[in-house]
Subunit: 378 residues, 2 copies
């Protein structure tokens, strides 16, 4: 399923190829997030034009709305949303632990109340795999226990044990035709827990391995550690996926730490507030300094937004609440993330990843929050 | 500027061709409305794909935001919004009389407070033409007095007199290169006022004539009368434009009454509430009966939305608040209005407009409000 094409001699970065029932994916890859069956504000044509190879769907959300009966009747998620290309579905674990208000962990899953209408629901390894089988995703994720990064060591250990046990249960569930299943390593920033969780999951022999328990509010140095503590215990011949990450510069650094796959809501989420990603960091398109700036969001960018519209126009659209404004910043941001991954792949192929990484990270100005967290961890 | 290609022997319908600085427009034509410099939720590519020949811009809105300095710096409205095709701008008259909260009619225009921030503004013939010249629209509209349809006869007469005087002033203002200027006939549903206003404006010799004071809340029969009382006094060799109208069936009926040009916010406005236009009338895509309806909004429709998505999926998107939902209904509705006009033109060319009209109107189920108004006028 995963072919390792090349490894970088100066880092742990890898160039690879992932084969799924609906197509081959070049890695490292960024996967736009279609939580509710739509990558927010974008249509499938725009996604393909910007080089999207695979998108994400969310078991938790799709299970609640529209519900499996409708997706089943449509002939699966791909047909329902008209995306005939690869889809990865998460298991709902992350949402159960982050969104659901009241939850009760039981031996075979979690009883919780819907964040929408308070109705009582249950998700566990069996249910999560059953839903993902019905969705018909190309890659399914195991149902894991994803505790807050501030959890006490004892709770973190319990979550790891539960995650391993549930992963075993997921392993045994029926799957959709050709569907691959990835394990998820938990363990916070505790090296021993990460090692144990990784080893136990690898023993179960999944099609790929995700690093979970990141993108849960932890500062950047902890996030990097979580990856560094996990990656050495994952087999080179399987894809590695860091869940819910990150900023463009973080993606580059995570690739350098041996990660192949990423997903993140950042590009479309911040776009709706008028914030654009550039190779120099984020920029507020709504800001006054863009008033008469008739350049594109980023010069040289080949996205639909940058080929057609100026910052001044997009600023106007965002300021008067026109949907085209947030649409176009969503296009630009998603394209930007995908372009960074394409550039990474090209650099890995050319053997110039070390230079690319150095230059990219030097140019990219992180947020104040990230800079402060880096300071503190020194 | 306007070439009358063919007239229908059974009605007053006309097939024509309107030449503007940025292109030739086949009439009858529907003009999507880009109030603030964007046809709501759509991008220029989508507009072209659905056959848009000309769009509208609003002097009042664009004057307030982003303001003329920015549009000037961009090199005009076409460049600012990246629409190199024809644009018609209204004069702001309608907005001054409908949106602005406090207004004071003066000899040479209206002093009013911005509906946004209450700032004191002034628009009159001179200002409206100056702004439209700066916007660089292909067709500019005169600044008119557009009173409510419930106005007393005395007020209606005053508005007509003012409209005629202001039209004369507009006629004398400098224009952008090649810019055409249309007069606007007022007079409510008073035949004498309509006739007088039309004749006086025709004497001023404009490039085309609009019928204003419609789409101001009047019931359909009054709207039809306003057009019928005006049209006979407009020269056959100039284009006629009914402002702010209407539903698809009304467009067909208005074409039959000799109108060549239309604009309306209905297709995109109702789309944002999840209402779609079909040849059988409107349908709520959010409605429960679309839950598992895997057909397109309208079978046989060739719009981007109908070629790619089902009612069930669009219903889901609208119900969970995904932007793609309202985007796609906006695409469908705008396409539907443009398709009706294309069908009308084809029927006029083929000499089958009478059949087309009969069938279209028989199939199209109007809203309850329109049906009641028709009942009452009998």
């Amino acid at each position: 399923m995963f072919e390792l094409l090349k490894t970088d001699p100066h880092s742990r970065a890898r160039l690879g190829r992932l084969t799924t029932p609906r197509g081959v994916i070049d890695t490292p890859v960024f996967m736009p997030v279609g939580t509710q069956g739509s990558v927010k504000a974008l249509d499938p044509r725009e996604l393909l034009e910007m080089g999207t190879q695979i998108i994400l769907g969310n078991t938790y959300h799709l299970h609640i709305r529209p519900g499996l009966d409708i997706i089943n009747a449509a002939g699966g998620l791909h047909k329902f949303i008209n995306w005939p290309h690869p889809i990865l579905t998460d298991s709902g674990g992350f949402q159960v632990f982050s969104l659901a208000k009241i939850r009760k962990i039981k031996p075979h899953g979690v009883e919780f109340r819907s964040h929408l209408d308070g109705s009582l629901l249950f998700l566990g390894p069996k249910e999560a795999m059953e839903i993902q089988r019905a969705l018909g995703s190309d890659i399914a994720m195991v149902f894991d226990d994803c505790p807050p990064h501030t959890s006490a060591p004892r709770e973190m250990r319990a979550a790891v044990e539960r995650t391993i046990r549930w992963a075993g249960e997921c392993r045994e569930q029926p799957r959709a035709a050709g569907q691959k299943v990835f394990g998820i390593v938990q363990g916070g920033s505790d090296p021993a827990l990460r090692e144990e969780c990784a080893k136990q999951l690898v023993a179960l022999d999944f099609d790929g391995y995700a690093i979970g328990g990141v993108s849960v509010g932890e500062p950047e140095p902890e996030m990097m550690k979580a990856v560094e503590f996990t990656e050495p215990f994952l087999p080179a011949g399987k894809a590695r996926y860091a869940m819910g990450l990150g900023t463009p510069a973080q993606l580059v650094e995570l690739v350098a730490r041996g990660v192949d796959m990423f997903d993140c809501v950042l590009p479309t989420r911040v776009a709706r507030n008028g914030t654009a990603f550039t190779t120099r960091g984020t920029v507020s398109i709504k800001a006054g300094f863009n008033k008469s700036d008739f350049r594109p969001i980023e010069e040289g960018c080949e996205c639909f937004a940058c080929r057609h519209f100026t910052r001044a126009y997009l600023r106007h659209l965002l300021n008067v609440g026109e949907i085209l404004g947030l649409r176009m910043v969503s296009v630009h941001n998603s394209h930007m993330f995908l372009k960074v991954m394409a550039d990474i792949r090209a650099a890995l192929a050319a053997g110039t990843f070390a230079e690319f990484r150095r230059e990219f990270v030097a140019n990219y100005i992180p947020s104040r929050k990230i800079l402060l967290a880096r300071e503190e961890s020194r």
